[in-house]
Symmetry: C2
Subunit: 394 residues, 2 copies
């Protein structure tokens, strides 16, 4: 009798926000970067993707592999998604070849269902968490013995920065040197528990649609920026070394300065692209001025801004400096959604922000997200595919 | 009997807007730059400083040298102004030593009166025109046989970019190699008449006060930007060579592209400064998008933006493309001051600018200035100091 079981595995995966940025590919097909990068994995209590991977002989082969993302069918025919399917199936097929008693899952259509716990409108890049959950869930479904680093190599082919979301804590993506990308993988620089006091306040700037996707933007930078090669050759290697040391020593002053300098350097190469790419706007710049004012008032670096390929500010700080950092932003942005009022009740601002800065933030920040460093992907028994193979009712 | 004559000389001097930017000093005392630069001298019909230099034994020595700038006393005790006085007096003293029949003007107090024909509120850097007129007027008063290049060496010590305002047309400031700055002078790459069709449309962005002065800003960049040295070593030398060739060949496509790329590169190094320096704002970026849209609609580079240390856009174009360039901006900005309506009557826009871009421009551009390439300093018999030595009534 045919195997009519619906095989399922579910995992959650985190968002990560780089403090040394990935920008530029040396191989666009394999998603091999021009430089190493380093990120902090954010807590899944606040930001995570939940993905269930399932396969079954009941699923019509004619439908092929499918992905339901936040309730809507999502195209899986893209080269990057296909690369992930192919890599994972090949590994499963090897296991099956070595042990004929294993069910032939590699031959079955995959049905994936995925949901984020944060609004898409937040303008947060969800592709890292998405591809990490995608790869981790299928690897669990296939019971692959692969390490997170090995899986990072697969996730990288889906979305570069996804490889860093396979680990919790502080994560480096080593650019590697091999032509086939075999050594372009992520590893954990430090566990979340090594420096658990790291917090992040995300200021979501009213999200107009991104002008230039990161995928095309970074290659325009590689092709046209006269300053980019200096970033790759000198700036990033120095920042990587300084950042790893700062994390090892839990030195926030250095962590913060390198984070801000690297964000500046990345956006400088965007501005030097021809035609220039601008991800930051006047609201983003106001957030920078606010962080500078908070640090000046504190007399040390208590807050560090960083910006990805969009106007949202991510402000890193340590728990002990919550009042100085969060209090100052709450004072002007108390009216928007997202504050964890229990954590910030009664906080006094360290300073009153400049009126111009406050006005720009009030006009442009639509919500905040309060989070902190967190763990890597977590296996869960919460399924988005029911036992009969249909998308679970929620 | 004592000489009670009031000696006077008057000159006008132009504004120049660089297409390869000066940003960074290798010697702050002598104003020696880290790189060569190149500018277009703008017509004095639209933008000029008029300066009268006078000296007389009637002027009380106790008052020393003085400068009345736009009707208000201006401090002349700064090291840069003093350097200009000193250099000019030394040259006059040499003449007097060689020819004892000459009046001893070098020993008399200088009284300077200076006026701009454009509103200070326009936010245009007037120091280049100001120091060029200052040096040229005193040199004329002293009847110095110095060439414009020799005077450029003096004006450079007052304000770096002032050295380029001693020439009309297309002007290079060669960074030089000598420690004493003896070879860091300006020269004329081409006369205005070589390529007289060059026009400039200046979009004056409602001028909030500059956050960071260029003098301190550029040295922060030199000290902290990891990308800056690449600009100096590679980007600018290539841009200088390409720009000189483009001017020689009257090739606006190349002139425009290099102008835009060099402006981008300069502002990228500002953004890479720590803390970052932002001169451009969302209005500036809208002007860039407008230029890109105009060029895309024209199917070639008909307009080129450049930004100095502030949010104002300067858009270079050729007279034959007035309709395409000016017409498109006039269509959305017709309500602000500064249009030469005779020149633009009946102009049809090449395209309707994107609503977001148009809205930002309408909200942020307070006036426009229409001008073009022009001549260097011009001696005039319009005096701002009367024959009796008092500031002239006007």
């Amino acid at each position: 009798m045919a195997d009519t079981k619906v095989y399922r595995a579910s995992t959650t995966a985190p968002v990560n926000i780089a403090v040394v940025k990935y920008w530029g590919k040396r191989d666009t097909k394999l998603n091999l970067p021009t430089n190493s990068s380093l990120s902090v994995t954010l807590s899944q209590s606040d930001l995570r993707t939940l993905t269930t991977a399932s396969c079954s002989a009941l699923f019509p082969a004619s439908e092929g592999d499918s992905l339901l993302l936040n309730g809507a069918p999502s195209d899986v025919s893209g080269a990057r998604t296909q690369a992930c399917f192919r890599e994972l199936r090949a590994r499963r097929a090897s296991l099956e070849a070595a042990d004929p008693s294993l069910p032939k899952l590699s031959t079955l259509p995959l049905r994936l269902v995925s949901e984020n716990n944060f609004p898409t409108a937040a303008g947060l890049a969800s592709s890292a968490a998405g591809f990490a959950a995608f790869v981790r869930a299928i690897a669990d479904l296939y019971e692959l013995p692969a390490s997170p680093s090995e899986l990072s190599l697969i996730a990288r082919q889906g979305s570069g920065s996804a490889c860093r979301s396979l680990f919790g804590g502080y994560v480096a993506w080593r650019m590697g040197a091999q032509e086939n990308g075999g050594d372009s993988t992520a590893d954990q620089v430090a566990e979340a528990s090594h420096w658990p006091e790291m917090r992040a306040l995300i200021l979501v700037a009213s999200a107009a649609k991104k002008g230039v996707s990161s995928t095309s933007g970074m290659q325009q930078t590689v092709a046209t920026s006269g300053l980019f090669k200096e970033r790759i050759a000198t700036v990033v290697p120095a920042n990587m070394a300084a950042m790893e040391k700062a994390i090892a020593e839990r030195d926030f002053e250095v962590f913060g300065e390198v984070t801000m300098r690297d964000s500046n350097s990345f956006h400088a190469t965007c501005a030097d692209t021809y035609p220039p790419i601008f991800y930051m706007n006047d609201v983003s710049r106001a957030a920078i001025r606010a962080v500078e004012a908070i640090n000046a008032a504190a007399g040390r670096t208590v807050a560090a801004y960083t910006f990805d390929a969009g106007p949202n500010a991510v402000v890193y700080y340590l728990e002990k400096d919550t009042e100085a950092v969060v209090g100052s932003f709450y004072h002007v942005l108390g009216g928007v959604d997202g504050w964890k009022t229990a954590a910030i009740g009664g906080l006094k601002p360290l300073l009153a922000l400049d009126e111009g800065v406050a006005g720009l933030l009030q006009a442009g920040v639509s919500r905040v997200i309060m989070t902190g460093v967190g763990e890597g992907p977590i296996k869960t028994d919460e399924y988005l595919v029911a036992e009969d193979g249909s998308p679970a009712k929620r």
